[in-house]
Every structure is written in C-alpha cells, then in structure tokens.
Symmetry: C2
Subunit: 254 residues, 2 copies
Amino acid sequence: MSGVAGAAHQNPSTPPSTVGILGGMGPAAGVDFARLFVRASERWLRSHGHPVQDQAFPEHWIAQVPVADRTQALRDPAAPQPLEDLATALRRLDMLGARAVAMSCNTAHAWHGALQTRVPGVELLLIAQETAAELRRRGIGRAALLATQGTYRMGLYDEALAAHGIECLLPSEQAREWLMEGIYEGVKAGNMPLARSRFVDACQQVLGLHGDVALVMACTEIPLALPDAPQAGGWTLIDPSDILATALAQRAYG
Amino acid sequence: MSGVAGAAHQNPSTPPSTVGILGGMGPAAGVDFARLFVRASERWLRSHGHPVQDQAFPEHWIAQVPVADRTQALRDPAAPQPLEDLATALRRLDMLGARAVAMSCNTAHAWHGALQTRVPGVELLLIAQETAAELRRRGIGRAALLATQGTYRMGLYDEALAAHGIECLLPSEQAREWLMEGIYEGVKAGNMPLARSRFVDACQQVLGLHGDVALVMACTEIPLALPDAPQAGGWTLIDPSDILATALAQRAYG
C-alpha cells in the first residue's frame, strides 16, 4: 500500500481551480458529462506525468436542476422559460467558487449570452466553439449536425463551424423529427431501443445523401444511445460533450 | 412531439425535495453514484405512474471535493484528516437546500457522527444500515464484506448486519491486501484489468472458504470493476451504492 502514504506530495504544484457543471438537461446526460470530465481530468494528469489519485482531481460541483424544456421555450415564447432557473444555478456555482462552468445541454446555449451577462465572474464555456476548433484540429472539413429543433432554430453551430471553414450539413425535416423522437420519447423517457432506432434512421438518411461525413452529436442525449447501435460501428461520430469536458478540465488545470 | 408540450402538468403533484451527493472519493465513484441515483429516480417515477422527463427528477447537487485519503487517516492520526473538508462540503449542500445527503464512500462513514452533529439540518444517510435492511428484505442471512482496511478497522457494517440478524464474514488478511491493491493501484489509478484481477482473487478465496455467500461490495470503487469480470457471472454481488442511491431517491420523493 505504498501508493497511499505520502502520495499527496506528488500532486500538481498548483491546486487546480474549482469548476462547475450545469446539468439536469436531462439528468442522465448531466451525469454522463461528469463522467467525461473525470476521464478528461485523468487524461490530463497522465499526460502531465502526475499520479492519478482522488486528491489530484479538480474540485467540481454538478448542479442537476429541473429547468423548463429548452426546445419548447424557443418555439413558444409563452411556454415556461429556462433562463431564471439556469441563472440561479449558475450564480450558485459561482458562489461555490467555480472559475469556469460547462452546460451539459446544447440547446440551453441559446441563453449563453444572457447567462454570461448575469454572472460575469464565471467563464461559461461555448460548446459550439470548442467543437469547431477541435474538428479543425482533426482536419475535418464537412460535418452533419444531429441536434434538437431548438438547436437548429437558433443556428448554434452554424457560425462557429463557418468561422473554422467547416461545411455544416443539416438533416432533412423528416430526419430532424426522427432525432427529436429519439431524444424525447427515447433517451429522456428511458427507452433506449427506440432512441437507437430513430438516431440510426436519421444518420442513414444523412449518410445516404452526403456520403461518409462526420456526424456531430450536438445534443447531449444522442451519445447516450447512438454509439451502441451496431450500424454506427464504422461511422465518424463526434461528441461535443467529450470535447467540452476536455476543455473544462483544461480550464481547471490551466 | 406531443410528449413535450404540456407534459409538465403530469409531474408528481408535490415537487420532490432537493438532495445532495457528497463525492470525489474517488471522483469516478461519485459520478457512478450519481448515475445510480438518476436510475433510481427513474424507477421511482415509473413505479408511481409518472412520465419520465427532465423536469420530474429531483434537484440534486453533486459535490466532488478533494479530501484526504480516508483509510490512511484512520490508520494514522498524524496523517491529513478528511473531516474539515467533508464538513465544508456538507454545509454547502445544506445551504443549497439539500434535505438529505448520501456520501459515495464507505470509509468516509467513519466521520458520519461528527458530520451529522456539525450539520444537523441535513439527514446524512447511513450506507451500512440501508444495506443491512435491504439484505434482510431479500432474505440473505450470510454475507462477506469486501471493503477497505479503513472500513474493516472501524467495523462499519458489523453492527448494522448483526442488528438485522445477518452473519458477516470477513476476508483473510491476504484477501484484504488484494482488495486494497485493486482499489488503489487499480480503480483509483485507472488500471481496471489490475482491479478486476485482485478483486476476483479475493472473492475466489472467500467463496472457497465459505461456499456460495453474497458478496457485499462495501467500497464504492469495487463495483466499477468487479461486475465486469467474467468469473463474477454467477456470483451474488450486492452493491451498497445502488441501495443507498435508491434510499436517497426515496427521501427526495418521500
């Protein structure tokens, strides 16, 4: 048991910053984002030659808060809106000492600007920018966007991908309906076989139309089901949550 | 997309209470505990006829805080002690509105009494009591305890199991060393093959001595590796974390 005694002395010399995860949208996606963050922190420790042990990880707080449906709020201004609940949770993460916060919901980024204005002391990461930069680093020039209707409506990824010279392919209206069904009646309702089936239908249509393009899973529910589908074996699946989690770990250790 | 619009009206009539998870010991175990809590909440919703959707889950905050090693602290009073950091995190969960809190670390329960005294406004669940009650409900009369040296040292499960008439079998000193190696050099250090191998060695010795007994995985790191071992296929593995997560969901909805 020599690994335990005295091991604290081998930690990074500066303790990492506290960071936060704004989740609950849905709760399973929030937990999965936290898993990706822990894995990204472990990668950081390994790549910097530090031992991987409990005390070497950044303090992180995960807020799993019930907030109004984001796509519904974007579609109908009279529907319950998520901004106040998101702002309250973000303020609390700020109060807990978080230097940077990631939101584990793509559609919630519609309120990114309003949230950052209300809580200026925290860096609220931008999932589309982090993803576009990573696609560029990997030399990917064309990508199809798998997302909620809310994310399509606000054009979350369009500008970020364009700014990095990446062509953004959008699925047909039919494929978008399949994605929404897989997200809401599938993952959010705990029906994974339905989710996989609808996601695969949408992807097969996209790949049939555009050939072998990268598929950006730009809704945090999609990676909870699609990668397990046998059909997805040979596809290039990009997980913006994983990219965002890696960016958050870099902020914590940076 | 009829499942989205107006679905909030079908939620449980009383909103569930906010609850907390005191984690980081280690971080992967904390995340896995949150996953079990979300799954337990989903089971609760289903069994009560409520639709499973983001807004129906209890608000929950997960504190992943770096605290001193618990087994080391119990062995050596001069070593860094975890109590102050645990108490700070628990106070913060209280401040965030948590009615009940679960600690995703068995050994940390050595400080349960001190923590509950310092933060009396929160119900801090007891993993050994919840587990013993569940074993009794399942009609299990004998169980072997797989744990850290710290958990053995403080006798965390002994009294709770005895109070429910359950015979508690303790592994040999050699098997305990294998468990510690699997926990620290295995799971906590990200080496899953080593963890599986050591956990299987310990279990095979226990089963060889005592016959087909239930194996209580009384360290939150053990379920992250042992159930994936092919040898564990026919064994009766009990996961106190899953039992505790179910108890926490019941407190939230109760």
